[in-house]
Symmetry: C2
Subunit: 437 residues, 2 copies
């Protein structure tokens, strides 16, 4: 059996590893366009902040996959054409064809580049693949003023990195709040924290980038900012060009439509990772959530199903986690805005609490917004910001929402307590109580 996997990112390598673990005798080929495997942009801001090179971002080297797992991994190999049963690859300067019986499309996602005057100037960069670490460092070392376009996750993580290493940072966001997918109670706190470290420009649109060869100024509809380096972080788009060649159906999100076994509409063709659509566990509707953990799991599920193990990927809650300097930020499930758009009749709670018992010296402030369905009191979503232990709280909520918990179920969850870690009534439990049963 010949398996071809297009893309050696998280999903592709998870799938390849799973297939080889279950069917060691199968021929599993992975074509990866770059010289990195299992790559993800998530480490890039921290490589800049702490000053290490892209090689450190890689957990497993290609040799591990080739030698230990028996995967026929082709690096720097770009798939240029796809037809049923065959794939055409550009590698080592020439093109070659390979046959396949089963195919995984794991082509990932790429940064969007808006069509703005001057976007092709030098030193306007995106955050995508490991080598971007070196590209960005090289420019940022000499840069004084840096403009970041977009206050999404990558935008604020890069803003943290550059302000930590002493750069003057301007963040330009066209929405009226940073991380606009969050509700306002939460973004108000994020905004205050960002304003301590960077020049945060909200409700502002980029008009053009100016400079001779390299960018020097960013012009917006409200002002102009000096810039030796511009990071464009206005979101990503799924890479679906190859899928289209095979008439693989796209979903309403624009990503590749998949079922719970990660199968596409074309027989023996699977898709997983940042190019694939999945299901939202709360709404049951299609969602596109290009994040590393679901990518890995989708790859695992695709690989298992290819190898004959019937296993379903249940979908995602859209759980997200980040930080900006001391402020930790997370969400899972639906925001108030999303819940209302989905037609839910909701109750909501917003609490301020301490992360630990009041007398413990390292206790910090934490803020939680929760949403539940009004009648049955089923939990729909939670947003958490605070100065410590935010990951813990969002993960309790994620587990509870995944389980279909009501507010009462959450209230009675027997969480651990000890003064160095939590108050007696954990803020999660208090949230459940405030939402009422």
């Amino acid at each position: 059996m010949k398996v071809v996997i297009i893309g050696g990112g998280a999903a592709g390598m998870a799938c390849a590893s799973r297939v080889k673990a279950l069917k060691p005798e199968w021929d599993v080929k992975v074509f990866e366009a770059t010289s990195f495997v299992s790559h993800a942009p998530c480490g890039i801001p921290y490589a800049i902040e702490f000053g290490f090179g892209s090689e450190k971002l890689i957990y497993y080297k290609p040799e591990v996959f080739i030698e230990k797992r028996g995967i026929d991994l082709h690096m720097n190999s770009k798939v240029v054409e796809l037809e049923y049963g065959k794939v055409r690859v550009e590698e080592n300067g020439r093109e070659r064809s390979y046959d396949w019986d089963k195919l995984l499309i794991a082509t990932g996602a790429s940064p969007k580049l808006p069509k703005i005057e001057g976007i092709d100037l030098d030193n306007i960069l995106t955050v995508d693949l490991p080598p971007d670490v070196e590209k960005i460092s090289k420019v940022s070392k000499k840069a004084e003023d840096i403009v970041i376009v977009g206050a999404g996750y990558i935008g604020i993580e890069m803003a943290e990195a550059f302000s930590t290493i002493g750069k003057k940072v301007t963040v330009v966001e066209m929405e009226d709040k940073p991380l606009p997918q969050y509700d306002k109670e939460i973004t108000d706190i994020i905004k205050r924290e960002m304003e301590k470290y960077v020049n945060l420009r909200l409700n502002e649109r980029i008009v053009s980038f100016e400079g001779r060869d390299a960018v020097r100024r960013v012009i917006t509809d409200k002002g102009e900012y000096p810039a030796d380096l511009v990071i464009v972080a206005v979101g990503v788009k799924p890479n679906v060009e190859l899928a289209k060649m095979l008439d693989v159906e796209l979903g309403i999100t624009g990503a590749i439509k998949t079922d719970e076994r990660m199968r596409t509409n074309v027989e023996n063709v699977y898709s997983a990772g940042d190019c694939a659509e999945t299901k939202h566990i709360v709404t049951g509707k299609p969602v596109w959530s290009p994040l590393a953990p679901p990518s890995n799991k989708m790859g695992y599920v695709a690989g298992a199903n290819m190898a004959g193990i019937d296993i379903k990927f249940p979908g995602v809650l859209g759980t997200q986690l980040t930080k900006f300097h001391n402020l930790q930020i997370a969400k899972t499930g639906l925001t108030e805005k999303e819940a209302i758009e989905e037609g839910y009749d909701i109750v909501k709670a917003f609490i301020e609490a301490n992360t630990k018992v009041h007398y413990y010296p390292t206790s910090k402030k934490i803020y939680i917004k929760t949403i539940a369905e009004k009648n049955k009191k089923k939990l729909l979503g939670a947003q958490v910001v605070g100065y410590d232990d935010v990951a813990m709280r969002v993960n309790i909520f994620a587990t509870a929402i995944q389980a279909g918990f009501t507010t009462k179920d959450l209230f009675f969850t027997d969480l651990g307590y000890a003064p160095p870690f939590t108050p007696i009534w954990d803020p999660v439990i208090v949230s459940a109580r405030v939402l009422r049963f």
Copy 2:
């Protein structure tokens, strides 16, 4: 309606507050034998470690309950006799009777004091009520050598406190491991950590305490240790003397038998907190788990039911959390030993992992032991030790076990990921994978 609550600890005050919130017109009396309310021993080790007084352990002063919540709170009032409809109280140097229509027995638990020669010597103390902070500090300030009897939670927390403030600490435990309720893979790690800071004597029994007025030496079956202060921390026993006066039935654990509404066998008599038995969520069997969060919730449930709201307490997982210096320690659900004793056919996993992505500078080691039922792969328990983020992991497990998750459910739980907080495959998810689906 006259409600009498015996005991102003966590359960008693939670019950009183709930009844008054639902039935403001009812007469709610609380009789508390000490001059503290909502007290718990959990803060005492940290008061010693950080050097603050017992007043700081109290979150709500009695006035809050009296003035804001309208509770008729009697401090320093000891219930000396209990009969149906009547309670006899010793307060302000005289005895008085009060009538009741509904009663809560929330008499808590007290430290066990083994019958050992010399146990009545001065400077042999227990960790129980807030004033113990001052008693212990007074002696420990002048003490050089301290012996702690028992390596349970309070024993190891006091050992951390005294070793932090520069005392020479010996911990004597009769079992062959510290925190003997944990499995050996976990206690081996705890043992190594403890041996860095204290003289840990396992498999050793106290024979006698020696001294003139105050203790000076502790004699065991294997040696003798100098001691200017001895802390006896060999466990607690439920305070059930008053319950017996009313023929309230005790359960097989020796604590007061209750149903899911916290009712005892005697009509209109409820019990909650450290004196009450409850149900283990995994086994469905009676369990006695004298810990602050379930005590609070039992009090809440008792109060709601007294006031006519039908709400059930689902029981506990026995989730526990502590630390010894840098090592954080937690468990939830069943250990391997407990699961086997309960007759489960089990699978188990023990993993060593990183708390965060490998390149993040603050990543630490964490160790997780998990137990699942062999056929259906239902999660039964988890034990976690490590140098960071243990509370997060045990709380994910607690929520998952409370929800009745299988290993597959846990594997697919959409937990948050970001390099400063977690690896892409969280150790919890890896545990699920290692247990297999």
